[in-house]
């Protein structure tokens, strides 16, 4: 059997196992409650197809030992096989659970699961649809490798956008109604998903726009930008910035209360990500205990501002406490940074992991209880006046700090300091032999990272009003690290996007929160396979991880249509 076909079968088997898994843990049933396209397919029913699509795509990524792709026909065959096997296993699962009663072990192996997998059709028709649709999905996934690049890109972006639109129905609908466009809402959305017409429109529009941009728009735009005089270009830039600023300022009003709440959470994680990005992305120091800084910031704010702080309660305002938060940040940064100066790579990661846990355990301990309240935490932390503890209001201080942090990070990245960090990340001993004081720049990275982390913690405390030690567990560190990896290490916009995807989406999809970690894990695994440099990588990361594909990308660069290159690179 040839290698391409074998790859298709193996990946199909794996996808089949994934199908069985999501079916039996109940994710599929739970997604059944949401329509993807009204009257045609629910999210739950679409799940096996999405898995088949991904399987087909992965199967088609075959490279021979010489790095050559397989001929187009073989790729399509492999993709179709992967889809077929994946759908076939799902169909067998249905046969199995209808014949053998396993619901006493797997409570989800129910009639609802069967109807979900069968698109609400009867046994025979249902399995045929499932298998055929899976095969087609696999074929489509593989076809993305065979089609010309820009068409494949447009198709995949179109599919993703459509899916996101359907998922976001409650919020997009609310936004449209807020803006007085109820008619558009009714036209596009229905019953928790897109209408049939809506789905077609969204898909067609996103494909067409992406296609036009990839083939012409980007090139034309950059040519026009180049043709402009410097002062014209500056004006264009200013207009763009002003538009973004206005949008950011009006965002809470546009999106409403519920979504503003999500925005504040995202903002806090953006700040956290920007700080960790300095430590990990710029300076290359893998810090797994970043939550320590977050916790210190939150507790410093709480103790200094809350009237119910147990021992010491100066009841400062949020803003008066801020300088002390920064001082605390600098101290904790040095405290963590100094002992680990001589550690590299894995060792550094393990030690910082320890620091993160130490922080949480100290705040939880009996020993520190008189000051920080132990497990009861600290209550009634005031909001940062003049802003109220209302998502639409507290959004603004968070926005301000995020903007300041982002601008600061960008200017640092493109300065003497950023170069020194980069050099250190590349090769520590050579950096030192070239004149970079690694001691100084490591401490600086930890110090600034701590400052951002502490600010983020301070805002968290002020936003939420009550803090407990258990808000500061290792998941915060992992989230922060995952979001910069997902977004694209070293890139500011990557951090924002990563926070939106990893923190924002789960907040929006609370109804499926049981499966949050499952989805989270799957997303990270798939990302690391498909796009290890993250969604919006810095040029550096991209270069590191794609040595082989360099030539391909350079070709794209020359055409001036490389959308993957971020606006700000480090």
């Amino acid at each position: 059997m040839d290698a391409v076909v074998r790859r298709g079968l193996v990946i199909g088997l794996l996808a089949g196992v994934a199908n069985v898994h999501v079916s039996l843990v109940g994710l599929l049933i739970s997604l059944q409650t949401r329509q993807l396209v009204a009257g045609i397919v629910t999210l739950g029913s679409a799940l096996p197809l999405l898995i088949a699509l991904l399987a087909g795509y992965l199967a088609g990524r075959y490279r021979s030992a010489h790095g050559e792709p397989a001929p187009g026909g073989r790729i399509l065959l492999a993709g179709a096989l992967a889809g077929l096997v994946s759908g076939g296993i799902a169909a067998l699962l249905v046969v199995f659970i209808t014949q053998v009663n396993v619901s006493w072990i797997f409570v989800n192996a129910s009639a609802r699961l069967v109807s979900g997998l069968h698109f609400d059709q009867d046994m025979l028709v249902g399995s045929v649809i499932l298998v055929v649709a899976s095969t087609l999905a696999g074929l489509l996934g593989a076809a993305l490798h065979v089609l010309p690049r820009h068409i494949a890109r447009a198709l995949s972006i179109g599919l993703i956008v459509t899916l996101v639109f359907a998922l976001m129905e409650p919020f997009l609908g609310a936004i449209l109604r807020n803006l007085g466009m109820g008619a558009v809402d009714r036209f596009l959305f229905s019953g928790g998903g897109l209408t049939q017409v809506g789905a077609v429109i969204v898909l067609a529009a996103s494909v067409a726009i992406t296609w036009a941009w990839r083939t012409r728009g980007a090139a034309v735009t950059s040519r026009r930008l180049e043709a402009m005089k410097p002062d014209q270009r500056r004006t264009a830039k200013l207009v763009a910035y002003a538009a973004i600023a206005v949008l950011l300022l009006l965002l809470p009003q546009i999106v409403g209360q519920r979504l503003s709440e999500v925005l504040t959470v995202v903002g806090i994680y953006v700040l956290l990500g920007l700080g960790l990005n300095i430590v990990v992305g710029f300076a290359g120091l893998l810090d797994l205990g970043y939550v320590a800084f977050y916790a210190v910031g939150a507790y410093t704010t709480a103790v200094l501002t809350s009237p119910s702080s147990p021992l010491f309660s100066p009841e400062l305002s949020f803003w008066a406490a801020l300088p002390f938060v920064i001082i605390a940040a600098a101290l904790i940064g040095l405290m963590v940074g100094t002992p680990v100066l001589r550690l590299r790579g894995d060792y550094l990661a393990i030690v910082t992991l320890g620091f993160g846990e130490i922080a949480r355990i100290i705040f939880l301990s009996e020993w520190a209880k008189p000051v920080v309240g132990g497990a009861q935490g600290i209550l009634s932390i005031p909001a940062p006046l003049p802003f109220e503890r209302d998502p639409q209001s507290i959004y603004y201080p968070i926005l301000i700090f995020c903007v300041i942090a982002a601008l600061g990070a960008v200017s640092l990245a493109n300065s003497r300091v950023g170069r020194a960090w980069n050099a250190m990340r590349e090769d520590e001993s050579v950096a030192e032999a070239t004149g970079v004081s690694t001691v100084k720049y490591k401490l600086l990275a930890f110090g600034l990272g701590a400052a951002f982390g502490c600010l983020s913690g301070a805002l968290f405390a002020a936003k939420i009003g009550t803090i407990f030690p258990n808000s500061f567990d290792i998941l915060v560190s992992i989230n922060a690290l995952a979001l910069i990896i997902l977004g694209g290490m070293g890139n500011i916009f990557g951090v924002v996007l990563g926070a939106a995807v990893l923190v924002g989406l789960p907040e929006l999809l609370r109804e499926f929160s049981e499966y949050r970690l499952l989805i989270y894990g799957a997303v990270l695994v798939v990302m690391m396979i498909l796009r290890p440099e993250g969604l919006l990588p810095s040029r550096t990361r991209r270069a590191e991880l794609h040595e082989r594909e360099d030539e391909e990308e350079q070709f794209d660069d020359e055409a001036g249509v490389d959308t993957a290159r971020p606006l700000v690179s480090t």
Binding site: G408, L412, S415, R416, V417, N422, A431, E432, T434, L444
Partner: protein, 286 residues
Amino acid sequence: MTDSTHATTPEPVTPHAHTHGSAGAPAGDVILSARNVTMRFGGLIANRDVNFDIPRGGIVSLIGPNGAGKTTFFNQLTGMLIPTSGDIAFQGQSIVGMAPNEIVALGIGRTFQNIRLFGNMTVLNNVMVGRHVRLKAGWWASLLKLPHVRREEAETRQRARELLDLVGLKRNYEDDWAKNLPYGDQRRLELARALASDPKLLLLDEPTAGMNPGETARMTALIKRLRDELNLTVLLIEHDMKVVMGISERITVLDHGELLAEGRPEEIRSNPAVIEAYLGKGAASA
């Protein structure tokens, strides 16, 4: 056999250089002097009692068979290793125990035997990092992009481009990744990075290794030109005897970690001890 003017007058070649001048040459003549430098790694002695002076403005070669301890010696001069005993003085100031970056700041720049560029940084940024020690922008000023920082950045960029020109790297390479440059250009880039710190003493570890004869000739000419135009002192480790004999004013030979001989090229060429170290016993008399 002790002498005070070895930098300028020819002296008899000494098979055992311990005797070779520790009683100070005039400080103005010697830019770097090593006294009884010994480096031990556990039981292994990489350098034993090496005494070594580099005359200011000279081009001096350090040669010797593989494993003679040449690179180890280099690493001690740049602070990457700290000698087990002995002293190294640069312009009269002891540099033993200083961090590598402090030594760079004093004015010693180096390149590496196996090219060690910052591969995932652009060509221009590699050179700009090299300039790091001469820049003043602190983190606070960089964060705020204060006017003097912008000015300094612009000047640094300008200077880096000049250095790229000087070492003969094409302008259109400057935004490429350092790791994507052809081999010979990577060597040039490493040289530009070292020059960016305005060194007084430049240490080159096999600058022509892996180059073809044409590239080698150009590199040799470049080194000479750099010395003359930038008032440098150059110490190089080199295996290519043609290069060594063609470029060096003085040659020092290390063997098994010890100083074997020191002298002008023609003296070294005819020194029986050196020939024996390179070619084995009997070769000198043959």
